[in-house]
Symmetry: C2
Subunit: 336 residues, 2 copies
Amino acid sequence: MHRPTMHDVAAAAGVSQAVVSLVLNGNHAGRASERTAERVRAAAQELGYRTNLQAKSLKTGVAEILGLVGDEVATSPFSGMMIKGAQDRAWQDHHALLTIDTGGDDRLEAAAIDTMLSHRVRGIVYTAMYHREVHVPDAALDTRAVCLNARDLDERVPSVIPDEVTGGYEATKVLLEAGHTRIGIITIHDALPAAVGRLEGYRRALAEAGIAEDPDLVRPGTGMQSDGDRQTRALLALPEPPTAIFCQNDRTALGAYQTLTAEGLRVPEAMSIVGFDDQDVLRDFFLPPLTTVQLPFAAMGSLAAELLLSGETAPEVHRIRCPLVLRDSVAPPKGS
Amino acid sequence: MHRPTMHDVAAAAGVSQAVVSLVLNGNHAGRASERTAERVRAAAQELGYRTNLQAKSLKTGVAEILGLVGDEVATSPFSGMMIKGAQDRAWQDHHALLTIDTGGDDRLEAAAIDTMLSHRVRGIVYTAMYHREVHVPDAALDTRAVCLNARDLDERVPSVIPDEVTGGYEATKVLLEAGHTRIGIITIHDALPAAVGRLEGYRRALAEAGIAEDPDLVRPGTGMQSDGDRQTRALLALPEPPTAIFCQNDRTALGAYQTLTAEGLRVPEAMSIVGFDDQDVLRDFFLPPLTTVQLPFAAMGSLAAELLLSGETAPEVHRIRCPLVLRDSVAPPKGS
């Protein structure tokens, strides 16, 4: 009897393999209804399909390979969990993930792709350290390709990106629900999809709550701690300061914490703060722990590998939900 | 005319390619005399050899490949610069570095190595995220192998590791030279080569200065910030507290800073601190900036690739110097 595959589960549940992957990895929120998720789980159970890598009898011996071409994904401290997600998913189907970083150099990238093709990879994950828009090199289309943390501007291959808008929306919403109505936002680099999407989410949440946007509360930054510092001071100096700040990344939030501490203002009693990214390496530095929005790197990497393995080639943009991580930096506004 | 290679420079200077690599990358201190270094530089200049990857006319097209098998090297935020160093060196000789992380799972490791062998890698860099002692799997010996940030316990292949002892020695020495005679040390996980080596360096420096070791000043930790916190308190509570502390990693130093700040004691006026690792992601959190010892990840990775490319198979242990990075956390003891 053949061991049930994700394909079998998808067929039994009447959904795509991508949806099966999302559901079984617990990342379907916003991408599949709870009813669909139930159907997938039932099918998986009935067929005896198991996702746990360790629980499966992995064959040793030569694996097929998937390639991952990154700019600095493997060598920077930021987004290694994308590699882990892709790799874990690849191993589940007995594929090894071969990673090459190119440092963003076009010639190295061309050589990396040529080399992968010559080794007959089953597909290439084309990845960026920071979420951005890209042109996938033609050579990569000689095999299957998927963009990861990058959106294919030419719409030739599937793209897997974080759902920045919904993330920004939820970050703002948690503040609204705590009772805040004057909510500042400190943005990151203007040109980045992350900045644009997270701001759109902020605006959507405010509009939904019937709150008019106050341009004074929207402060530009570049993603550095010093921006959080500087713009928090600017917000505090307003005639009517906000009672909460949504920082578009954790590093900016760290600057905000610092300024507030220096001013003798406590988080969250005097000011609520929400961040974005949920960066591992920064987590310990927030006192109280920061409520933030997680970049779902592992789930994104997993789906990218999944798409290659399943042969899904439609140039769809897969937006993966960024889960809100509730910690201790949000409270009702003072005097409410 | 053929483009000069590192091999040509080595031949002209009468040294190994490993030495050429170290000298031209500025990492020869402690491993080659300044006279040898001069000879290498002169040979490189005479032959017109250039190390700068970007300045060279790299061929595009299919590259040969080197494999790098890591536990969590590519997916953790800690040691990505080893991959970068190995990769940059590999590209210089038109080799792509293919990285596979195994998460420490033996079966995945076996599959990763089999897969690399089937793709005819020119050699395998066998790498650990944290410096440790390993048994290289037999399969890896079907091609060339080199241990990186790991020491081959069976002495079958070359190993490239940080020179922990000299690092610990220099960390202590900089405190001695500032005039300190009571120097505390907070260690990290006892079983690690890093902990053992750094402690040995501390003892060597004290012995050389004719200072008897005071066991009260040697405090065990596990590498966590909380150890730095707790053991700094313990040191401050001694009848005769130290005037300086060597923390065996930066994270521990961060805990020390925190406690000192809480006690109203300034670094370095009231207490000098030296760390170890020079971790990127922590650097911004030290005020004043921390004097520390750098783990030479890029140089180590570069040498590992170099050894594979040059075919150097002697099971020698290459200890790479950990450079002292002078910043602002060391001053003479109070009242001196």
